[in-house]
Symmetry: C2
Subunit: 199 residues, 2 copies
């Protein structure tokens, strides 16, 4: 086959793949994982059931692929946010704000980025572990740089501060979805990162 | 039927009910919701499939009942922790520590207490909303009391501080499961609640 033809097929496959992930995210959000079937997904995407099975073996595999896509997209946005500021303290603030924005957007698809997801079996969820680890590593690096510049406490490990901060940013999902509320959440979290508590 | 006989039947029903919830929590943690059937649950509990259907219509309903039991148990523990200290700042510290301990124990059953759970459809998850709201109201009350005593910042709404703190306590699930790590997490969070950030 000529190269152009292959390119078209590849593009078509990618488009269908993406449409399947979008559809399953919406359906699972609405009906729960147990309420979604492969037939339903195929009908919604507008492809045959047999075609759907050429892409994915079951609903769980699609949910997993959707999760992986989410995490990759979030990672790209965080990397971009980190690159946009040269000053370590400002870089940390921007990365936290991006995390808050991503968490605040969660409601739309009703699925958590962090934490164990009971919709996916533990065995399969291990695939996701690596991607989440990269998010955490990026945040740890940014916190370490800010600590090196004297802006962050050093009495708690940077990795543990990253765990704390990434969970705290998850609060954006349950706060008003306004820029002001998210900015307050970021400053609240930064105030814990900045200084040891008096005692 | 004599009263004693009724009491015995009631007790038997409660025992079976509890065994079903315990079983489904373990099975869903291991296989994911899509990988668990009513037959499997019945076999594991040691009752007939028909009997299981007298208790619950489907797996999702069992997961939901299990969630509700979890939230009630957590609420009882938090209420107890709050009652154990008269001083508002100490009460807040104890409630946060209890939340951290509960979050840290999550790994065992692989399911989050907070946030949307894609295993349960949005429609049914609304039943859970009330119970979570009670957790949040309790924390808000404790924070308000500590603010009244001058221990907590008043530039952010107590309800928003409660949302922040309860998400932050979720970090215990991803930190080392030691008392020291949880104590550090509580102090870190308290330091954000105590004081506005300099600017």
């Amino acid at each position: 086959m000529p190269r152009l033809w292959n390119a078209t097929i590849d593009e078509h496959r990618r488009t269908v793949h993406a449409a399947i992930l979008d559809t399953v995210a919406a359906l699972v959000g609405e009906h729960g994982l147990a309420g979604v079937t492969m037939s339903q997904i195929a009908a919604e995407v507008g492809i045959g059931r047999a075609t759907l099975y050429k892409y994915f073996p079951d609903v769980e595999a699609i949910v997993l692929a959707w999760h992986e896509r989410q995490v990759s997209e979030h990672l790209a946005q965080l990397t971009e946010a980190a690159a946009a500021a040269a000053e370590p303290a400002e870089r940390l603030r921007r990365v936290l704000r991006t995390l808050a924005d991503l968490s605040g957007g969660r409601h739309q698809h009703g699925t958590a980025v962090h934490g164990a997801d009971p919709a996916v079996s533990l065995h399969r969820a291990e695939h996701l572990h690596k991607a989440r680890h990269r998010l955490h590593a990026l945040l740890t690096e940014v916190i370490e740089a800010a600590a090196g510049a004297g802006h962050v406490r050093t009495d708690v490990r940077a990795a543990d501060l990253a765990t704390f901060a990434s969970h705290a940013m998850g609060a954006a999902a349950d706060l008003p979805g306004t820029p002001a509320a998210r900015a307050r959440l970021v400053e609240l979290t930064l105030s814990a990162l900045h200084r040891p508590a008096d005692s």
